[in-house]
Symmetry: C2
Subunit: 717 residues, 2 copies
């Protein structure tokens, strides 16, 4: 890519980004859009926002929202988005710190050093716009030049700095996590464990087996239990009722005349054969039947429903519950399997029906399916990547030849189109990965998202980083990994070659992260008030939640790009810094005003971030080993070797020192917390609530009927 093409891309994307910002600031001020842009405020107000009178300010772009997103402190964020929200924002803070220092080092030291090289024979300051940006990359440094020691030192400096930050961040967040626990109110999931694989012998019911077991072995701390029941059939019924209800609401919201007209035009009038009844009455009847059916089934399940060998067991103290989790309960390790219970709102009920064996097999299938998905995506990405090579495109699609010869078009296509396509395509993957994780049989939504996050990370690294790096230069991607000795040399050849693509990729991502702000899909569905709109017609707001499993890998990809290209093509760093700045302010805004947390894992996403950063560092080192080899500086190549080893040892230490904090709370903390609550009169209240905290929502009574005159209640209490 030549410099003018890069500037075109930067200009275009800056323009788009600014436009999106302006658009957002205007749209946000429209009272009708409040449910899209500040659903949290609206929800906490109970939807009482009144329609403001017209104001000229409302149609002028402003930056007030940036201040509103900037000002709240971390405590405010913690209060509004939980520890997970704080951890999410810490990723940006961490990356901003890393890339500020890396950027200064890169632009002030490495770029001049690279530019003064002679390898690409181009020391000629005239005609800068038509120069390749490769002049600023390590490719331009002469083979065997002593200037490469600058790059060598930069690698050591940045690794030390990143490790220092990683250590601090891990320590900070583990303290935060503990403090969060110590100041928390009594929470049901701290007192509860989930028991699976309950063995039933001699015709006893599961409930009585559980009771006998825990009364026998934990008489002093056992409180109560809830056996999970088979509700998949019931869930289908409720789903049907919900759909019917939604359809009915939609029909009612359309004025009667239009309805009749529509229906007569659609069925009665057009075919002229049938005289249909009023659809509202039809659906009301159908809904009534469904509701009756649901109620019948619920009482049936409650009375004598099929029990699943799984139960939530509540204890009188946090310590009691925890000590039960950490010990094998039965001589047969597949029976009485205990694990921490998720938060009640976090439980994923449908998956209790699967057995140990089923979960085990589906885990294997999901593993294979994920690999296949990545491979299929790689094939598609290979095609898209071909677009950066105009000549190839002209061969494939000869009729485009004339158009492609126009300068703007060709720059657009090489600099913009491939990355836009990639962005679009990869946005379809997270739901698929989440589906895969769901099939693995986790019992908490947070676990599903954590697992999906890991899958997405692998997917992103493979399909975006490796696929582009490898298909751009060699035909077969997997070939390289069958020859591990040559990996560094191979990567050293191909990775720098893709610098321009990734710079373009980073630049386009400014627009895509800004479109997060405008919530295009939600806005469109709001405007056309389709039935799945976020705002329900009674003013109740359906506040969305952020999907960490798709956002975190996307952000981490940029830190991977930044770290791997820091030495090779430091010119990428300012663009990455801009990305993180935009992202920081946008996601703060979204977390504060748009998304509400669906669960709180207490910051358990951080270890994923930590490990990925370590991976990025080691990948950088491996590429450097190859680069110094290629550049005929074998001494530097060998002297880099201790760096990955030290980094991995550092990682090992961090995992020993901090990871256990993210896995379980210590006896010390639990006992202290229990003692605090001992003299608290509120605890009796809490215990009463605890007994009923874990209930399958499918078994909750329909508090208000769908068909009662109060039309717009949520389905379940």
């Amino acid at each position: 890519m030549i410099i003018s093409a890069l500037l075109t891309a930067v200009g275009l994307n800056l323009l788009f980004t600014v436009l999106l910002f302006a658009l957002y600031s205007i749209l946000r001020k429209q009272p009708g859009n409040l449910s899209i842009y500040v659903p949290r405020l609206l929800a906490s107000d109970g939807g009482t926002q009144t329609r403001a009178h017209f104001n000229i300010d409302n149609i002028l772009p402003s930056v007030g929202w940036v201040r509103a997103a900037w000002q709240p402190s971390e405590e405010d964020l913690l209060a509004s988005s939980g520890l997970d929200g704080v951890v999410f924002m810490r990723i940006f803070v961490f990356c901003l710190r890393v890339f500020s220092v890396a950027g200064i080092l890169g632009i002030l030291v490495l770029v001049p050093v690279n530019y003064l090289g002679d390898q690409l024979n181009n020391i000629d300051f005239s005609d800068l716009p038509n120069k390749s940006i490769d002049l600023f990359s390590i490719s331009n440094v002469d083979d065997g030049s002593n200037r490469l020691w600058f790059h060598f030192s930069a690698a050591y400096v940045i690794t030390a700095f990143v490790c220092y930050l990683l250590y601090n961040e891990y320590r900070y967040l583990s303290t935060k996590r503990l403090a969060h626990f110590m100041t928390s109110k009594p929470m049901p999931h701290h007192f509860t464990i989930l028991v699976r694989g309950i063995p039933v012998r001699g015709g006893a019911s599961i409930s009585s087996t559980v009771e006998r077991f825990f009364m026998d072995y934990y008489p002093s701390t056992y409180l109560s239990h809830v056996v999970v029941r088979q509700t998949s059939k019931l869930r289908h019924l409720i789903n049907d009722a919900e759909n019917a209800y939604r359809r009915l609401t939609h029909l009612k919201s359309i004025p009667r005349a239009t309805q009749n007209g529509g229906s007569s035009a659609g069925t009665g009038g057009f075919l002229g054969l049938f005289r249909k009844k009023d659809p509202v009455i039809l659906y009301t009847k159908k809904l009534e039947d469904l509701e009756e059916n649901v109620r019948l089934h619920q009482s049936e399940v409650n009375m004598a429903g099929e029990e699943i060998p799984a139960a939530f067991v509540c204890f009188k103290s946090r310590f009691g519950a925890a000590s039960c989790i950490n010990m094998p309960q039965s001589d047969n390790p597949t029976e009485w399997v205990t694990e921490p219970a998720p938060e009640p709102r976090d439980v994923y009920w449908p998956f209790f029906s699967t057995s140990f064996m089923q979960r085990w097999i589906s885990k294997f299938i999901v593993f294979v399916a994920s690999i296949f998905l990545i491979i299929i995506f790689l094939l598609v990405a290979a095609f898209i990547q071909g677009l950066t090579y105009l000549e190839q495109l002209e061969i494939w699609l000869p009729f485009l030849k004339n158009i492609l010869e126009i300068a703007v078009v060709s720059q657009l296509i090489t600099g913009y189109l491939p990355s836009l396509l990639l962005h679009l395509l990869s946005s379809q993957i997270p739901p698929l990965m989440k589906l895969f994780s769901t099939m693995q049989g986790f019992i908490a939504n947070s676990d599903i998202e954590k697992s999906a996050c890991g899958k997405m990370l692998w997917f992103t690294i493979w399909s975006v980083f490796f696929a582009n790096v490898l298909t751009g230069s060699v035909t077969s991607e997997l070939q390289i990994f069958l020859d591990p000795k040559n990996i560094p040399a191979m990567l050293a050849v191909v990775v720098p070659g893709q610098a321009s693509f990734f710079i373009a990729y980073v630049v386009t991502s400014w627009t895509s992260v800004s479109s997060e702000l405008t919530q295009t899909m939600a806005l469109l569905s709001h405007i056309f008030s389709c039935p799945c709109s976020r705002k329900e017609s009674n003013g109740k707001i359906n506040v969305p939640s952020i999907s960490y499993h798709s956002e975190i890998p996307r952000i981490l990809l940029f830190s991977l790009l930044g770290l791997t290209y820091f030495i090779l093509a430091p010119i990428i760093l300012p663009f990455i810094l801009v990305y993180f700045c935009i992202g920081y302010i946008i996601y703060r805004n979204q977390l504060l005003f748009v998304y509400t947390p669906k669960y709180d894992t207490g910051g358990r996403f951080w270890p994923i971030v930590h490990n990925t950063t370590i991976f990025s560092l080691v990948l950088m080192h491996i590429i450097l080993i190859g680069i110094f080899g290629l550049k005929k500086l074998p001494l530097a190549s060998s002297l880099i070797l201790p760096l990955p080893i030290l980094t991995l040892l550092f990682n090992e230490y961090c995992n020993k020192r901090f990871l256990p904090v993210f896995r379980a709370y210590s006896a010390e903390a639990l006992i202290k917390k229990d003692r605090e609550g001992e003299n608290n009169p509120e605890m009796t209240d809490f215990y009463e609530k605890l007994v009923t905290a874990y209930h399958d929502p499918a078994l909750m009574p329909l508090r208000r009927s769908f068909t009662s005159n109060d039309r717009h209640s949520p389905l379940l209490s």
Copy 2:
């Protein structure tokens, strides 16, 4: 190797083995050798065996000892050698079962199929002795022949059979382990945990910190604690005293006249310059000084010795101790680290002085050192392996040419010498590996041996199997593993080529395993009554213990050889069967009469055996994939693929199902056991003993002085 050479080797080794058996049966009957061959009986008798009168039977070989070793039941073995002894013998039983079936399959099906092949163009039944034994191996089957499906089916059959046996064995041993625990008397290590990383704040002593912590958090179950003290200096002193004592005993046992003569000849007479004092008096004086010093130091350490931040904490119940192990105690995971305490006799005291960081670093160093050791050994083995190629030897050492042309010598050298050298050389490795493991900072001897066992396994597999397979054909061994795709094809080429070497190796091992019976080293040192002799002069027997870390890997190597060569060269199987038969009877004898258990891990060596067998199976599958590829039967090659996957899934399942039993006892078992003891009046007695069970032997009072007139007491009570 031609058949006649094989027969020579078999004949020679059978002869040696029978000779050794006969020698043993005679030697064992000599009353003077009782301390070598039945030290356990002697020790339990208190050494009161009287010298029997001369009997002609005593100098005739007999087989009575075989009956004596054969008859005792598994319960007897359990009583005399603990569960570890039972597990050790189960390895033989397991291997005998596997290789009986494999042998029948191999000899009755595969050998005829191989022999009827035409690949080596040698269907000619005359002159059998000069045929290569390759005629019986898979190399002789024609390329693409449908007969290869016999081999294919045999692979599936044997894998299924081995997995079935593995499952049964794992289940049997885990039940056995639980039963052993349920019937055991109260043992100190079930009630005790080891706490490390005790943080000391504000000048408090470690002892009071521990007491405060456990009194605070575990008031109902905490019983007492023992803080470990720094005793390395004291240990040196005791060592010196011991050496002096041993020297003194030796001097006293030599008649005074010889002593004087010796000393005058040695120092006084020979040089004629000094008139030395009586050495006995000299040493007695020195010993007295040392003892005084030890006593002084002991009281010093006991009063105000440096405390190490580690303590044994005793609980009132097994459940109390176990629940404390399984939970992180402190918010900082590197503080208050708890782990199960080893048996008191199993504690390895010297290593308490090392810190967390030291242990971590030494672990890393040991890892690197082990790899270096393997590589160095590989270089040496490469040289030895060269001996099987006579031509090469003649080039290296031309003066041997005439000797090498003698048929017997050449057969001896190709068939016998290399494997003998390998046996000798590798016998030096286990102590080295144990030393490495010791440096890693385990606090139990059993852990050290378990870790050394793992190291030895890797060592054995690499240095004996891979080194011989790869150096025999290619120069660089590691090259192959840098090209993973070609591993099956590569192994398929080189592994069958080494069949003759491994057959010879198995055959020579008969002699080496029989020499275990005669305890050559112990016998020699007994005859020359050197000071390190097993029998101390007062008749107290120093009963040795078996070193599982060197024996188990050696046995598992033969099962690895058997499984990998089962398809390739089934002719190896009868020889392996003979090995296991000899081994079974010999090790039973040794466990019952010679070795006494130093500790009991409750069968924790079995998972190592299980995993190694799985490894052997998968290695067999990988080689088969290559073989079928080479033999131009790609369909079979692909159809073998599910086999390693299924095997690994089976392993995964077994580890889920049985491994936890070998790690910790369940709450169920612990509570049941605790309740059993509740009404037992013996428990108060036990608690009293428990408080003092964990004491550094270096701090035990010298119950009887070395220099008191009672001369031959053991050093420490």
